[in-house]
Point group: C2
Amino acid sequence: MENNRPTLYLIPVELSTTSPADVLPAANFEVASRLKYFIVENVRSARRFLRRCDRTIDIDSLTFFTLNEHTRREEIADMLRPMEEGNDMGVISEAGCPAIADPGADVVALAQRRGYNVSPLVGPSSILLALMASGFNGQSFAFNGYLPIAPAERTAKLKELYRRAVHDDQSQIFIETPYRNNRLIADIVSALPHDALLCVASDITGPNQSIRTLPLSRWASADFDFNKTPTIFLIYHP
Amino acid sequence: MENNRPTLYLIPVELSTTSPADVLPAANFEVASRLKYFIVENVRSARRFLRRCDRTIDIDSLTFFTLNEHTRREEIADMLRPMEEGNDMGVISEAGCPAIADPGADVVALAQRRGYNVSPLVGPSSILLALMASGFNGQSFAFNGYLPIAPAERTAKLKELYRRAVHDDQSQIFIETPYRNNRLIADIVSALPHDALLCVASDITGPNQSIRTLPLSRWASADFDFNKTPTIFLIYHP
C-alpha cells in the first residue's frame, strides 16, 4: 500500500451455502480476523461470517456499525470515526462483494474523499461469475440492476437493453426479486425476438448451481423453476 | 451440478505478483490439479500457474490447447473433443478471469450450445475490484473495453460515456494499453468537466496497488505515473 494512512477493506461473503474456502482466498480470513471495526449490512450475519473465518475470534471485542438502505448520509460520516483515529476498518455485506449491487458504495466514496486507502478483497460476484459462464461478450457488458415492474415499462426496458446488446455489441445483465424469476423469463420470451440468447444463472457457487444459455425459442418450451433462488439474467445477440 | 455431463471449469489466475492464496480460494487448486485437459491463452504461463497451484503436479501428463486472438473458430470445436469423450476441461487465461476482457467466451459459448456444464471459479477481476473500491454506483455499471486511439473519436467516446454516467447514472469503466495510461488521464482531463470523478485503479492486488478517486480538477495537477502498469479507469458524476 502506498502510504501509512488507515485502510478500508472490502470483504466479500459467500453467495450460497458453501464452505468459505470454496469461494474466498485464505488471505481474506487473516484480514477479517485482525480488524476490530466493521461496517456491515446485518450485524447478526456479519458475526456469523467472522466466526466462519476464524473460530477463535473474540466477537465481543469488535465494534459493528450497521449500513443498509435506511442509513442516512450523515450517519456514514460517523461510522468512519475509527479511521480518523488511525484504525483500519472492514465493510461486509449480506452476500457477495460489498458496494456491487449492495450497500457500501457511499462509505467507500467518503473514504476516497478523505484520502484513506481502500483495499478490495477477492470474492464471489454473481454478476461476474454469470458473465464468465454465459459465453457472452466479456469485452463489453453492462449491469442494469432491477428492471421496472409495470408491464409496459418493463417491456420497453427489455427492448432497450436488447437494442444495446445488438447495436453496441454489449452483454446486458440484470436481476429480479427471486419470487418473480419465473415470471421474468416469460416476460423476456414475450418481449424479444426468438433468436435472442438468454443466460439464466441460478444459485451460483451453490449446491444447485445452474448456468444455462439458450435462445428464447428454447426457453419458451423449457422446463424450469427458479422461484425463490437468487438468479442473474443476461441477454445477448449471437 | 445438475447432471452428469462433463464440466468446463473457468479457472482465474493472479493479476499481479502475489501468492495464489492471496487471491484464489483453496478449492480452485483442487479443481486445477485434478483436470487433465486445458484450453489456455499461453501454454508456458499456464504450466507455471498449475505448478503454483500444486507443486507435485505431473505437467507432462496434461494436454494443452492454445486459445488466443489468432485462433480460428473451427479450431475451437476441436478443442472440446475431450469433453465429447466425457472429460472435464479447464480454461486458463493470462491473468484474471477467463472470458472477461480476455479470450475464452467463444469456447464457453460452444460448451453452452452443446449442453455441457460450465462452472466459473472465483478469482480476481480487476474490473470488479476497481469498481468496488471506486465508491461509484455499483447498482448500474458498464465495462467498455478499450477507447478509440484517434483523438477526435477518443474525445467523442469519452463524452458519450460521461453522458451515460450522468444521464443513466451508470458508472463507466474502460482500459488502456499500459504504456498509454498517463496520456489517457490527460485526455480525460481535457475532454470532460472538471467536477467529473475519475477513479484510477493500478496494480490491483499487487505490491504497488493504488486505487484513487478524485475530481478531474485534482487529477489535472496531481503527481502520478501509471506508465506500463496494468490500470483500470472509471468515470462517474457525483
